[in-house]
Symmetry: D2
Subunit: 354 residues, 4 copies
């Protein structure tokens, strides 16, 4: 999946995530695709479909590959996918003798989808680490401030007193569930795509499954039948992203409500300033968590439109995934970072202080 | 969750589902809430919080309960939830002696959320049965027509030949995965909600967890900490509904494309007629599967907006769930029925017939 | 557009609108379609395409028409549209002599789309009346409470003082603009659809435009070229519905925030009660306005998916409109009623009272 | 509105729009904000609120301004808006004597919203020019190929013959309407935002309206009361973007269907190639138009969520606009370019050629 490079825009300072964003840069994208071509060639050599020397030559060429970005862009623009032009450049880099051994029996989608999954594997690791850190920060906050008395609010009105620990538990429990669901869906999601032009592996001459297994092993991914036109796992992962963003948005909304001057149940160590009102201290990360929740909820609805994948490959639906999924992944990551910062800067105020 | 009764509208004939719809009728809704109040009272009697006689009286009153629908409607309109008026009517039915034993330590959301989950338990059973039947129909179709040669299409263009079995597998595999994910998420979803006014079970005087466990056992649901403001499981279930609808929509889209007069790879036993063109035979269920996929994808994005649940109860977010989730459940059910009918009426045509 | 009858559900008590809902009942739907068939026949008689006696007989039959609802439902289920079966029943009611004069040169979509527009004309009138009433209520509120000092809030924090009049103006101005845009889009929207099977009016034998003009005049609608596959006007109207719902949702959100116990800038004459907390007075209509805004925003995104209307008639896209537009129209109407009730029950509290 | 710089990503080659994208670069954003500060100062000097020399010094400083991007990014990250830090840098550039004359009586939102509108004015011009060119290309196509006989398709089935001219008219008419609606909404949209911290212009000491008028005149925008918390015009413009994208998506869908090998009613001069199948010629721009329609439809639903703008400034809702609107504007522009290219490369094939 060839997606926007991390932008140097200012808005990224607020809602971006350099670490996750980097997985969707054009360099990371290219690098992942080259790893896939390398693993494919190696697996095909094992199966005897191409020669060992060819596979070695391909591996070398991929390692040293210098793309002509302009022609890749032009190729993408014309073909709708970058792979035809990439294969052309790669074959040229491999040299005439072994050029034909490049990309044997594969199709664009094998390279692009597997390249995406390779990067999602890393993204999942980052999420798990950040989820752990966020849960840790929440547990620390509960240890420190949990006994503080707090007014529960239902339907925007004061309900009954409870404690900061009670409130924090309502934030922590869904995060624990989401960590669990991510661990369960990851093996389903993190599998190679290898199908050839129409998903049958017919062009791999009877070695399709063996090549898929070998390729998966080399890439550290699971093996599975071709899933090019079955986007349920992508849709399931996107659902998870939105569930997490929504869960973080709920934390942000709670904090913004509790931080109201009239309520003052929490204090943020640092607040946003205003260009016009010197006294303001705005709960910026809390607000942005709400923004990201609503953003990803909407994008999820759009991503699921792409489940209607016509026949054996839908240009329309697949391109829609490219436009949506990276944004969801990046803003989910941004939410995790913002939430952790928010929690670490949060103090539940003792009633006396209000 | 008090939701629209199954409507007698004509459109239901096309996109409705009487069996699933019935779970969201006002009668089913009321009945479920009464079961919850009964189980709550019984569990509270076990814990000694109310007397056995009171619990028995409540059970009897719930069994024989005759609602004043007009006042329930008026109560809902004023309170935003139907439970305050329902409890009023129920207490009156129970009689003065034990009136105070009704709804002890509980809040509207305990009754409504648990009442929803009770019905979702049945809904899940229906889905599993239908998924099994649909998968069976697809396997039968593969057995009968699987050898038929078919042209694969990528990006709306002819690609390479494969077989009907190859095509059917791309429909069947995600359904098998979705059956599996439903079985895994069901125990997470199908748990009672019991928290009292602000989710702490404080009003249950130290017996909260015991009462929750007993109540869950009586209702055939799982026990779990209060989750009233944690809507991730509802959002996860909704995601599943949309994943399934999208998967069925992909089948519908494929069939509509293959049934084109110019393509004629499949034939439907019956087609929709036109008021103007006698020769038309329209692939109506295939089209409607696409409709339902797009409808539920959009609703999913809206349902996830409700994850941002302010503080201990958000009237705005919770009401949004009520507007969206029943529709998603019903149209998902409709999709399963339509898909089965479509598959059973589908014949892959031998090349010679085209 | 054959849509759900107004449901007798309890939830309607909270988010329904009997007056608008009635326009989307199966009876209103049928009645509108019969008016269209009558006007079509009359216009065709004027043009000499059918006889005057036939047109008269059709008008009589439509007036006295007794539908077989079960067969209409079955027809809809099979054909995807109700019109083929309706025409069958209508022809039977007209009698053998003039049966062939029914529905001459028209297609299902002419009848259904024009029938929808007929009802939208009334819906627009209701909206305009309610918008006027709501604006009046806001102006009255400003007259009465406008001088009250209020604290403006930005980013959920106290900003600077202003007045209730300043706040009310921010609610009123977009409503005035939306009234204006509705008046401008109405003539574009409220036009008949007449195209025949593929939109060319070819079956009207050279009289198409004259028949369209005459039919439009009889129905009190504008005349326009066939627009069956051009859904921009439907999408534009849906956008307006969501803009209005969002504008009302902003009022609701402001009121819910100002009505917080800790803020107390406004008081609602009546509040929602709780089943567990006697002291609660919940700002139910304010919350529901937020719900409806988020609901319609989501539905708008779904409705716009239906702009991608394949070729000369998309069953998938058109059915999607049927599922979405009536809901949007009803909940927009409900929002207008709720907003007016909210405004009429609202008092801005003098600072001293806080 | 500080938004992502045009990314150098490959995906932009397919779905980007350099010309529109440039209006949302960080440089264009900054430049627009500086124009707003300049015009504000000039208008305030006219009104006597600040001195002429101060205004001149501000104009000079804005012209020569060299931003410290890192500190702007850091400021945005902390304050949620870039303006506090920008004003700090600008005051420093202006020098001590006149520093206090910068940004007098204004707030971040005045600068950011007006800066956005300035750029939307140019964006609207580009759209109008491209709409004209696209309509021209369609008219040319109709002139050349309009007489070609074509099979109309309803519900994915062959209906009746009509002509290419009939088909082209269904594409052209909504474009003509959309050009008209854009011309009508533009004056409503293209107005300055000037309100000061809470929208009352109170800090402009009685000169607010005069300053607003003068500022508007200098910027070539309309004057209007402060609309900072009234986002209906932004929502209306976004609706238009989606209506246009949907209209173009319908053209794309039609072309993709007509270009099917089995249908062959149109031919594209150039097609996308495949990495695996030498015979493929994929209708890439047609598919991408469908993608963009679905993408913008979904984003529209998200943008309308931001209509619920809490109180006098919602950080959550406003930031959501920043994430969504630029994407919609860019992809709408991309759609116009793609559509024109598609139309110019399109030939309706005579029946004999099929």
């Amino acid at each position: 999946m060839m997606t926007p490079a991390p932008t140097p825009s200012l808005l990224d300072a607020l809602v971006g995530d350099g670490e996750i964003g980097a997985f969707f840069s054009r360099d990371a994208d290219l690098s992942a695709m080259l790893r896939v071509e390398t693993a494919l060639a190696a697996a095909e050599a094992e199966a005897g479909l191409i020669g060992d020397e060819a596979a070695q030559r391909i591996a070398d060429a991929c390692r040293a590959f210098q793309p002509d970005w302009d022609r890749l862009a032009k190729g993408l623009s014309q073909d709708g996918v970058v792979v035809p032009e990439l294969v052309r450049q790669l074959r040229s880099a491999v040299g005439e003798t072994h050029a034909k051994a490049v990309h044997v029996g594969a199709t664009s989608q094998d390279i692009i989808d597997t390249g995406l999954i390779l990067r999602l594997k890393d993204v999942v690791e980052v999420y798990l680490a950040r989820l752990g850190a966020l849960a840790g920060a929440l547990r620390d906050l509960r240890t420190r401030d949990g006994a503080a008395s707090l007014m529960a609010h239902t339907r925007m009105q004061r309900a009954l007193p409870f404690t900061a620990a009670d409130k924090i538990d309502t934030w922590l429990q869904p995060l624990e569930r989401l960590e669990d669901t991510l661990r369960h869906l990851a093996p389903r999601l993190l599998t190679i795509q290898l199908g050839g032009p129409v998903g049958t592996r017919a062009e791999l001459k009877g070695h399709g499954n063996a090549i898929a297994d070998a390729m998966a092993a080399r890439l550290g991914l699971g093996s599975a039948p071709s899933w090019h036109s079955q986007r349920d796992r992508v849709g399931e992962f996107a659902s998870w992203l939105s569930l997490l963003s929504g869960t973080l948005g709920k934390i942000g909304q709670d904090v913004a409500l509790m931080a109201q001057n009239e309520v003052r149940e929490v204090r943020l160590a640092t607040g946003g300033s205003s260009s016009a009102m010197a006294h303001k201290s705005n709960p910026v990360p809390a607000e942005v968590l709400v923004t990201l929740a609503r953003f990803n909820a909407g994008l999820l609805g759009t991503l699921h439109q792409a489940l209607v994948h016509e026949n054996e490959r839908s240009g329309a639906a697949w391109t829609l995934e490219w436009l949506v999924l990276p944004q969801m992944a990046v803003t989910t990551g941004a939410g995790l970072k913002l939430a952790q910062g928010l929690v670490e800067n949060l103090t539940f105020l003792p009633s006396a202080a209000r």
